[in-house]
């Protein structure tokens, strides 16, 4: 009756909120799995024990479908639907791995890495690190054509909040913070400024977090998969931005 809240498990992220509903049985990589109607394919894959990489998806937030690393193949359907935004159907046959899926996921991750500070990857323990491990790409090759492109590595470093930093250089624009502020906290203090490549996460009217309507509940920090929003207390020597980047 309260699955979206009470079926959440510490240390496990099912990717999309658990649902209440009639049981639906499908197969993921040949493994039969039964989940509630209205659940996502991503959630079903997780229950079946199949690891589908993800970045913008979290079981505390409604599915969004922006990161495109949770793509899967579904028998009888064209293309490579995002498993987070695809609801399960009875009898559905899902494949979570294939050469094409691996290639597409690598391609998407390379796009992320083309605008991410290289020095912040080794030794990190964010969800992004986990996803990179799953996809099997950790850095762009030195001669990768994406290097030296336009980037946001000189973006805002917001230290105004006493407890956390927002480092735009590490932001992958997945909107999890924006959505957490809206869906979980209900303050609506964050937004995406601009659009397209120019999209950036900002507080209020592109102002510091402290000046904005942010109430510092921490939901955005909790939601951030790439440590762009992170507690200052984890940096005993103070937070410094990495100076090298892949870009």
């Amino acid at each position: 009756m309260w699955s979206e809240l009470r079926a959440l498990r510490d240390g496990i992220d099912l990717g999309t909120p658990p649902r209440d509903g009639e049981p639906v049985t499908l197969s993921v990589d040949g493994i039969p799995v039964t989940v509630a109607a209205g659940s996502s394919v991503l959630l079903a894959a997780g229950i079946a024990g199949c690891t589908v990489p993800k970045l913008c998806a979290s079981d505390t937030l409604e599915a969004f479908g922006s990161c495109r690393v949770c793509l899967v193949e579904i028998e009888g359907r064209r293309g490579y639907p995002a498993s987070c935004t695809t609801p399960v159907d009875e009898g559905m046959q899902v494949r979570t791995t294939s050469d094409m899926l691996a290639k597409l996921r690598r391609g998407v991750i390379e796009l992320y890495l083309s605008d991410f500070p290289e020095g912040d990857i080794d030794g990190g323990w964010s969800q992004l690190n986990t996803t990179l491990d799953q996809v099997g790409v950790h850095r762009l090759a030195d001669d990768h054509p994406y290097r030296s492109g336009a980037n946001h590595q000189g973006g805002v470093l917001d230290m105004s909040n006493p407890y956390f930093v927002f480092d735009q250089a590490k932001c992958i624009v997945c909107s999890r913070c924006v959505r957490a502020c809206e869906e979980i906290q209900g303050t609506f203090a964050l937004t995406i400024d601009g659009r397209g490549f120019g999209s950036t996460v900002v507080a209020g009217q592109n102002e510091s977090f402290l000046e904005s309507d942010c109430v510092s509940c921490g939901a955005c920090v909790q939601a951030c998969p790439s440590d762009a929003l992170i507690e200052k207390s984890l940096f005993p020597g103070g937070y410094e931005r990495a100076d090298s980047s892949q870009a």
Partner: protein
Amino acid sequence: MPIPVKPDQSTITTCAYCGVGCGFKAETSGGQIVRMTPWKEGKANHGHSCVKGRFAFDYYRHPDRVRSPMIRVSIEDPWREVSWDEAFAHAAGELKRIQETYGSGSVGAVSSSRCTNEEIYLMQKFARVGLRNNNIDNCSRICHSPTQFGLSATLGAGAASQHFDSILRSDVILVVGANPTEGHPVFGSMMKRSVRRGANLLVIDPRRTETVDSPHCRASVHLALRPGTNVLVLDSIAHVVVTERLYDEAFVRARCDWDDFELWMSQVGDVRYSPDVVGPEAGLEPDAIRELARRYAAGPNSTIYYGLGVTEHSQGSTGVMCLGNLAMACGMIGREGVGVNPLRGQGNVQGGSCLGSWPHMFTGYRFVTDAATRAVFENEWKIDLDGEPGLRLPNMFDAAVAGSFKGLYIQGEDPVQSDPNRHHVEAALRNMECVIVQDLYETETTKFAHVLLPGSSSLEKNGTFTNAERRVSMVRKIVEPVAGLEDWEITVGMINAMGYELKYDHPSEVLDEIARTSPAYSGMSFELIERVGSVQWPCNTAAPEGTEVLHTVTFPRGKGSFMLTEYVPTKERVDDRFPLLLTTGRILSQYNAGTQTRRTANNAWYDDDVLDISADDAAQRGLRNGDRVRVASRYGETELSITVSGRVHPGVVYTTFHFAHTMVNAVTSDLNDWATNCPEYKVTAVEVTKVTKVTKVTKVTEVTS
């Protein structure tokens, strides 16, 4: 290259900052807390948090911590550090000396809702087996004692009828005298989620709070009543329900005492409570009262959440009864999505109420005058118990001023700052011969103490908290207590020093004792809580893993009882000298008297109490944003800066009470609830005047502005 520290250990515990009781994971590295993250499986918070619980934990390692027991003969003397044993012996010796000189009833104790259930239980045990009297009270006296009284009288249980998640099943949410988004932020977020999903929000509050109007959350009806008219307005709502026949007759006939109901109908149905009469007196549009009543009665699932804006009045208990009556009349009780729910201030106010820290009640709200109940405890404790109710905290202070009360053991409370009529409290403490304070820091109250026992924070001890939805959750020791002892061990030391031999190896043994003696807790144990995460009482053989929704079949008192709720205006009135009504509340980033949060970076948001005043009232007094003003009442005065705010109506001013130096409680009235002595913090007639600054500063201001 910024690689974040990776914590080496993570421990699940419960936040102490408010009655929501969020589950947290305390993550440590090398024995120090590096961060607190919300626990996804916490049933009160489901992985959410607020700025206090999530970030404001540095207070535990603040240099101001009291690190050793200290004693002194006179409050003029400097403190002398002593061993625990010497402190216990000295304190107990003094209490026994006072009792020998002034009588058994000349000493007492007060417990804190920031402490665990086990510690609160031990405090009442200290009074009953150590002091051998019933002079034990708890700090809910000054916040939610009317809840206990009013809900027991109507429904039979002085606690929230629902679990927090229930609000997602509500079609109509009535919030009375509470501001969840500031005071109970994680529940506030849940409430907003329900509103965004289509629930209709109704608010009764003198201020246009964030609860009334914030992004995607706007009250459809807001009754901005004049402070002090709660009961009048609630009776008027009942009047509409009665006269428009909006009540649920089938429910009332099945579940409630029909004769009581008819009597109640004849009272609230009288024309003196019609919206047309009440509206002008309460400063409301009569149609708004009708609209609210109709929406609430229409449901289908309407729920009530209320806070100190209901209880902290001279008719606080009556106000609570009004809410119980209203819910029963409309059949809005006994299932998910409905109910009557107090929003508790401190982390363990519900526990403070349940665990017998009352001068007239044992655990589970059973009277000390009842021989059968006494027998339960006499059997458990192997000691004869006093059957006479003891003194309430305000009575203890009154008695102290009068000279008959001389010793007090205060656990984690700062009555000088928190309690009403500061001058009276100070006079009472000055008159005592032994004041024992157990606290994290030196406070306004420790200035009057003779024994100072270094308390342990909720990060430094094991035990349980009961939150505002009756949920008992585990508090776990993350770091060692600064002075070596957890609060429960200190109280055990005091009990032993008083001559009653007692030994517990772990707080779980205390909870076991509570379970043995208290029906609502009879199924409760650390083992159960460990296994299922948290448990809502009642927990017993009928409900082995606890109870989410109360009153589903019957009320604990059998038939629900409609209490008569005649409106009696407070004696606190505005006049020419004091034309404004001051009301008080709290702000998100600070917590109560601020002892903890003021010692964190939360001051970045709010570093002083500020007086909100309407533009009209400010203009009349020649005041501008940021001006310093003198706030004077019949009881005292203080100085504050003002904010000209659209959130208060003309005639009303508002402030918080988080900062010791502002001494807001020096201004508040000493009137209190007729039934429980809960102080009337929410209504004080005041005048606000500009503090004239030296000419030089004024000139500088003019140049820059």
